[in-house]
Amino acid sequence: MSTLEDISALLQKGRANEVKAAVEKAIAEGLDAKTILEEGLMAGMGIIGGKFKRNEVYVPEVLIAARAMNAGLVPLKPLLISSGVKAKGIVVIGTVKGDLHDIGKNLVKMMMEGKGMLVHDLGVDVPSDKFVAAAKEHHADIICCSALLTTTMNEMKGVVEALKSGGVRDKLTIMVGGAPVTDSFCKSIGADVYAPDAASAAEAAAAICAKSA
C-alpha cells in the first residue's frame, strides 16, 4: 500500500496518531502537501462520508475520523500555507438563535473541512446579525444554518432577510439543514440549498465552490 493509501485507510479507522505519523512519512518521502491533503486525508474523509450517507457508519465513527484528519493536518498545515494551497471555499456555519443543538452542525463542519473548505463556526444560539457580520468579515461563499427545533427553524428566514438587508445576499449561497428542515421549507424561506445529511451537505458545498471558482 502506498503511503497515501495508508493515510486514507488509517483515517477511516480513526487512528489519529498513526495518521499523523503517516503524513509525516509522506512529507519525508517528498510528496507535496496538496497531494497528501487531497489524495490522503480528503480521500479518507470522502469514503467515511459516503459510508455515513449510506448509514454504514454513524456519528461516533465520523467524529473519530475527523479527529484523525485534524491530527494529520498538524504537520501538514505549515506546508499548505507556505506552498500557497488555498481552501476550496469559505463557509460560515452556526446553529440559529434560540437553538442549542450542535452535534449535527459539527458533523457538517467536519465533513466540509474534509472537502477542503475553510469553515468558520459561530457556535450555537447565533442571532442573524452575527451571520451577516461573519459573512462580510470572512468573505464567505456559503452560509450554513442549522436548526433542530420546529420553533427555531423559522429563525432561518430571519437570517435570509438579514443577509438581504446587509447587502450580501447575492454574493453567497445559503444552505440550511437540521432534522425538521426540508427542501420545501428551504425554498419557502428563500434559502438556496438544503441537504439531508452532513456528507450531502459537504458534497453540495464543494460543487457550489467548484462552479464559482
Binding site: 448509514n55 454504514e56 457508519v57 456519528v59 461516533p60 437553538d99 442549542l100 427545533l149 420553533t151
Partner: protein
C-alpha cells in the same frame, strides 16, 4: 394430592390449592387470574414469566439455568412455566406498577390528612342578646369541632378565620334552613387553609372526593381519591385531547404561536377533557359535583401552561423560560374546569421548562427526597426526564430522547395497541415474538423495539457500532439468523417476525434515543460524584418504563449493567404524587420541598453531555 401455593402481591396474599407436579404458570392460569406474561407460551424460552418463588419446588431445569443468572437463582427467581410444585410453596408476584396498584386502592403509607376536608357542624341558633353574625357563630362552631377532633397523633387542621365570600349567601340560607332559625342547623362545611370554602345543608353519608390528575403530553389520567379512606376507587385515562395539535411539547407550543386563538383552543380542549373525566368519575361513584373538594394536577411545564392559558412560547427556544414553576392553588373554576365554585385546584410545582411537575410529583410519591439512599428516577418518554439523589439533594435533567420508544419515527414503530409486537426473544438460533392481543404482527411498540434491538445485538446481526452486518458476516452467525438479514434497494434490514422489520435507519434512530438517556444518566452521576454501582434504586416511571424488559434495556445500553438489579417498576409516579397531594397536606408540601431540593442540570451547555452522548451511541459489547 393437593398442596398450597401462597401468593404474595404487595399487601395482598392469596392461597391456591393445586396438584403436585403442576407448574406455577399452570396453577395461576387455572386460577383465572394469572396477570403473568407468557409470550413464548410457557416453553421456557422468553424468560418473561419470571417470578420469585420459594418452598417445595422442582430444582431449576435447563431453561431456567440458561435464562436466569446465578444471582437471580440465588435470589429465588424462577420461570413460572418451568418451576413445578412439589409441596407448599410461596410466590411473590412482581407488582404491576403504581398505576394499577393505585387503582386498587392500597394502604398508602401516610395518614390521610387532606388539605381540603369536610366537616358536619351544628350551627347554634342566633340569640338576640349576643348579636353574633352567622359567620361568627359558624367560625366558633368549627373551631370547637376541630378541637373536639384533635387527638394525639391526629394531624391538626388549621382553624378557619374567615369564610369565602361566595359561601356567604349559602350560609345565610342554610342557617335558616329549618324555618325561622330558632333551632340549630346542621351544615356541611369545607375547610381549606384557615378558610371556609363552602357551606351547605348537611346530608347524610356524603362522600368526600379529590381528583389526582396527571396530564401527560400523550396520555391524561385522572384518579378519583376517597379523602376519608385514602383509597382510589376509580380512574379514567385517555389520549390527551390536544394530540391533533402535535405529538410533542414543541409542536403544541408552535400551535399556540402560529395563529390567534391557538392557545385558547388548546386550553379549552384539556379543560373540557378534565371536566369530562371528573364528571364521569363522580357519576359512576354516585356522587354529586359538590362532593369533589379538590383537584391536584401534575404534568410537564408546557401542559400546565396550556391548562392555565398561559402563553408558553418562551419555553420553546433558548433560554427556555417558563412563566412559572411554583405551586399554584386556585379555584378549579378559574382554570375553566366545569366544577363547583368551592372546588380548589392545585397545580403542582415544577423545576424548569423541561423538568416539570410530573417529575416533582413522582419524586414526592416515591419518597426519594426523604431517603438517605441514592435513587435514580427515569421517566422515559419523548422527553426523557431523569432525577438522581436523595435527602441530601437531587439533580435532574431532560434528555430529549425523542419519540422512538413511543413507536414514532421508526419504519414500523407503533403505539402499544393490538397487533403491536411487544416482546421479542431468541429461541435457539431464531427470533420469536409475541404481540398485544395475540393478533398478527403489524409493527413494534416501545418494549418490542427495545427487545428487537437487544435480540439483534445479541445475535450479532447488529454489531456494537450499530451497523447491520453484511451478508457474509451474517452467514457466519448460522442459517437461522442469516435468513433474517435482507436488503431492500441495497439497504439492509432485519426481519423481526410476522413481516415486521428493523431497518438500518431505525437502528440509527434508536442509537440517538438510547444514547440520550444513557448519557443523561452519565452526566448526573458525574455531577453527583457517584458511580452507577453506588445507586441504590432505579425507579422506572411511565408507560414505557413499566413494560420494558430490563435485560433488553441493559443489552441495548439504555441502562448500565450495574443498575440492572436495582430496578423498581414504579408505574405512573406522577399520578401517584397527585393522588398523594389530594390526600395529605404533608404530601402536598413535600412537592414544594422536592422543588427546593432539586438542582436542574442544563445539558445544552454541558460539554460532558456531548462526549458522553457520542460515547453511548456505541452499544455495549457482548458479555
Amino acid at each position: 394430592m393437593n398442596d398450597l401455593l401462597t401468593i404474595h402481591e404487595g399487601e395482598r396474599t392469596q392461597s391456591l390449592a393445586a396438584a403436585k407436579g403442576k407448574t406455577i404458570l399452570e396453577i395461576l392460569v387455572a386460577s383465572g387470574d394469572s396477570h403473568l406474561d407468557a409470550p413464548c407460551g410457557g416453553k421456557g424460552l422468553c424468560g418473561k414469566c419470571r417470578v420469585r418463588a420459594s418452598g417445595f419446588l422442582s430444582p431449576p431445569d435447563g431453561h431456567e439455568l440458561r435464562i436466569l443468572s446465578d444471582a437471580e437463582l440465588h435470589e429465588g427467581w424462577r420461570l413460572a412455566c418451568a418451576a413445578r410444585l412439589e409441596g407448599e410453596a410461596r410466590l411473590e408476584r412482581p407488582s404491576h406498577g403504581a398505576a394499577t396498584i393505585i387503582a386498587e386502592g392500597p394502604a398508602l403509607d401516610f395518614v390521610p390528612d387532606p388539605p381540603l376536608r369536610r366537616l358536619c357542624i351544628e350551627l347554634p341558633p342566633a340569640r338576640l342578646e349576643e348579636q353574633l353574625s352567622d359567620e361568627a357563630r359558624l367560625l366558633s362552631a368549627v373551631e370547637a369541632a376541630l378541637q373536639a377532633q384533635a387527638a394525639p397523633g391526629n394531624p391538626r387542621a388549621s382553624v378557619p378565620r374567615s369564610l369565602a365570600f361566595p359561601a356567604m349567601a349559602s350560609l345565610a340560607k342554610a342557617a335558616r334552613g329549618m324555618g325561622d332559625g330558632a333551632a340549630a342547623a346542621l351544615l356541611d362545611v369545607v375547610l381549606w387553609e384557615g378558610k371556609i370554602m363552602s357551606v351547605a345543608p348537611a346530608r347524610d353519608a356524603r362522600p368526600c372526593f379529590g381528583l389526582g390528575v396527571d396530564i401527560g403530553t400523550t396520555t391524561v389520567v385522572a384518579y378519583l381519591v376517597d379523602l376519608e379512606t385514602g383509597g382510589v376507587p376509580d380512574r379514567r385515562s385517555a389520549l390527551n385531547a390536544q394530540r391533533d395539535f402535535g405529538a410533542d411539547v414543541i409542536s403544541r407550543i408552535a400551535a399556540t404561536m402560529e395563529r390567534d386563538g391557538g392557545l385558547e383552543d388548546l386550553r379549552s380542549r384539556i379543560a373540557a377533557q378534565l371536566s369530562g373525566m371528573a364528571a364521569s368519575l363522580l357519576d359512576a361513584a354516585g356522587a354529586s359535583p359538590e362532593d369533589l373538594l379538590c383537584v391536584a394536577i401534575a404534568g410537564n411545564t408546557t401542559m400546565l401552561h396550556l391548562l392555565g392559558g398561559i402563553p408558553p412560547a418562551a419555553i420553546a427556544s433558548a433560554p427556555f423560560t417558563p412563566a412559572f414553576t411554583s405551586r399554584q392553588s386556585l379555584g378549579a373554576r378559574d382554570l375553566g374546569l366545569d366544577l363547583p365554585a368551592s372546588c380548589v385546584a392545585f397545580l403542582l410545582p415544577g423545576i424548569s421548562a423541561y423538568v416539570g411537575a410530573d417529575i416533582v410529583s413522582g419524586i414526592a410519591a416515591l419518597g426519594m427526597a426523604e431517603r438517605d439512599e441514592c435513587s435514580l428516577l427515569l421517566d422515559i418518554g419523548t422527553n426523557g426526564e431523569l432525577a438522581l439523589g436523595g435527602s441530601c439533594g437531587i439533580l435532574c435533567c431532560a434528555t430529549a430522547a425523542g419519540p422512538a420508544f413511543e413507536g414514532a419515527g421508526l419504519s414500523m414503530g407503533m403505539g402499544g395497541v393490538a397487533g403491536a409486537i411487544d416482546s421479542v426473544w431468541i429461541d435457539g438460533g431464531h427470533f420469536a415474538h409475541s404481540t398485544i392481543g395475540g393478533l398478527p404482527a403489524r409493527g413494534l411498540c416501545g418494549s418490542g423495539v427495545l427487545d428487537a434491538l437487544a435480540a439483534c445485538l445479541e445475535s450479532g446481526l447488529v454489531e456494537d457500532t450499530g451497523r447491520i452486518v453484511d451478508a457474509q458476516e451474517a452467514a457466519a452467525l448460522g442459517p437461522g439468523f442469516a435468513a433474517l438479514r435482507t436488503e431492500v434497494e441495497g439497504s439492509p434490514r432485519i426481519a423481526i417476525g410476522g413481516g415486521v422489520h428493523l431497518t438500518q435507519a431505525d437502528v440509527r434512530s434508536l442509537q440517538l434515543a438510547v444514547a440520550a438517556i444513557a448519557a443523561g444518566i452519565d452526566v448526573l452521576l458525574a455531577r453527583a460524584g457517584k458511580s452507577a454501582g453506588e445507586v441504590d434504586r432505579v425507579f422506572l416511571a411511565g408507560g414505557f418504563g413499566s413494560f420494558l424488559d430490563v435485560r433488553s434495556a441493559v443489552r441495548a445500553g439504555l441502562l448500565m449493567r450495574e443498575l440492572e438489579s436495582k430496578v423498581v417498576v414504579a408505574g405512573n409516579t406522577s399520578g401517584a404524587g397527585a393522588v398523594g397531594a389530594c390526600l395529605s397536606r404533608a404530601r402536598l408540601e413535600a412537592c414544594d420541598a422536592v422543588r427546593g431540593l432539586c438542582t436542574y442540570v442544563e445539558l445544552s451547555s454541558e460539554p460532558a453531555f456531548n462526549d458522553a452522548y457520542i460515547e453511548r451511541m456505541m452499544f455495549p459489547g457482548a458479555t
